[in-house]
């Protein structure tokens, strides 16, 4: 590996930085060697920190001559890799500079901030680091190529997550972003909706009091960890508002049971083109 920070000269956006890395290192395996890349980019060490207060931290001098990354102990390999890529993003994105003695932290909740237009600078900075991490670990072109070779299902998402060495949720997020059809992913914990990722063409998902809709496949089946349901057609009003339900021809749902009461739900809508 020969790439270095000088090769990234003139690039500022998270996506452009990640794309340049893949362009200059075309032989990278699907499971991107993120720690090796860190060393190429002047990250001197990657260590562990015994804390539950933070996911990860970046230590550096204010000129960003060199840095070190600390990751919370006891995290899964996929989560650790994502955290390292996220901190590397802070280090490489020129605009991410600690100012006026204020430092920024990456709390667990920040890893799910996804709106880069967020006005709050800190949130925006965290969203940009997430974007870099996603594009570095799951290059959009590679994701789309794999999507073309597989069906649209949770099994495919899980297989891709394994190949890229990322969590199922991180993979699901990128998968939704890269999809050409209106799809959505819902993460639930013990029946409560934790997060949702919606393709721009997927109808708005009502709040449903923060719980899985009672007639949804996910609420009814509660599959055991590692068990995938079939993809089943479901009444669109179960998940959508009456108005939006009228604008789709059909809605399919699939659910995957995960450990500790978590579940991943895939929703796929077929839109009524006359309505759009």
């Amino acid at each position: 590996m020969r790439i270095g920070r000088l090769d990234l000269d003139g690039l500022g956006s998270p996506a452009a930085l990640a794309a340049k890395i893949h362009e200059l290192e075309p032989g990278l395996p699907p499971r991107v060697p993120v720690e090796q890349l860190c060393m190429q980019f002047d990250i001197q060490s990657i260590g562990a920190l015994e804390t539950d207060g933070f996911e990860a931290a970046l230590i550096m001098d204010e000129l960003k001559a060199s840095g070190a990354i600390l990751v919370a102990k006891g995290r899964s390999d996929a989560r650790r890799r994502y955290s390292i890529a996220h901190e590397l993003g802070h280090f490489l994105i020129p605009a991410h500079r600690p100012s006026g003695g204020a430092s920024f932290e990456c709390a667990l909740s920040d890893l799910h901030l996804l709106d880069p237009k967020d006005r709050d600078r800190r949130k925006r900075v965290e969203a940009e680091a997430n974007r870099f991490a996603a594009h570095l670990l799951m290059p959009p072109g590679e994701v789309r190529a794999r999507m073309r070779q597989s069906d649209s299902s949770l099994e495919s998402i899980v297989a891709m997550a394994r190949a890229f060495g990322v969590s199922k949720e991180a993979m699901a997020r990128s998968w939704v972003d890269s999809h050409r059809e209106p799809v959505a992913i819902v993460l639930a914990h013990r029946g409560r909706i934790v997060r949702r990722y919606r393709h721009q063409d997927f109808p708005w998902l009502p709040d449903w009091d923060g719980r899985l809709p009672k007639d949804s496949l996910a609420a009814e089946l509660k599959p055991a960890p590692g068990i995938f349901s079939q993809v089943e057609e479901i009444d669109p009003t179960v998940w959508l508002s009456e108005r939006d339900a009228e604008r789709v021809l059909s809605l399919n749902e699939q659910v995957l049971g995960q450990g500790d009461g978590y579940a991943l739900v895939l929703l796929q809508a077929e839109r009524d083109e006359d309505e759009f």
Binding site: E50, T51, L58, L63, S66, L70, H90, P94, F104, E105
Partner: protein, 110 residues
């Protein structure tokens, strides 16, 4: 603020790449990088004059009011907002890591 930081901020504010500045000054991209990272000796007056011209600032604005004063070591930053959330052992780990990085840096620049 150090010369290195001022140079970096001026370059970014003017939306110039390292290569753009290098080409206009007549030095290598790596040289500009090292100046921004505080990894090389102070630049020659000729380079400073060219840089001031590119960014349209006074030389004093670029190198500080006293060019003979050596810049302070760049501060180390831990990107935690609230260190109170960390236990003593974690703080010690961070402090030791910072110290180690400082030593490496000093070794590299001396």
């Amino acid at each position: 603020m150090s010369f290195a930081r001022r140079l970096h901020e001026l370059r970014i504010a003017n939306r110039l790449s390292l290569q753009d500045v290098a080409d206009q000054v007549g030095i290598s991209k790596a040289h500009v990088w090292n100046l921004e990272k505080g990894l090389s000796e102070n630049p020659s007056m000729e380079v400073v004059l060219k840089l001031a011209e590119i960014f349209r600032v006074r030389v004093a604005d670029l190198v500080g009011e006293n060019p003979d004063a050596s810049d302070e070591d760049p501060a180390m930053v831990a990107m935690f907002r609230d260190l109170k959330k960390l236990d003593e052992r974690d703080r010690e780990t961070i402090a030791a890591l910072m110290e180690q990085m400082k030593r490496r840096r000093d070794k590299g620049t001396n």
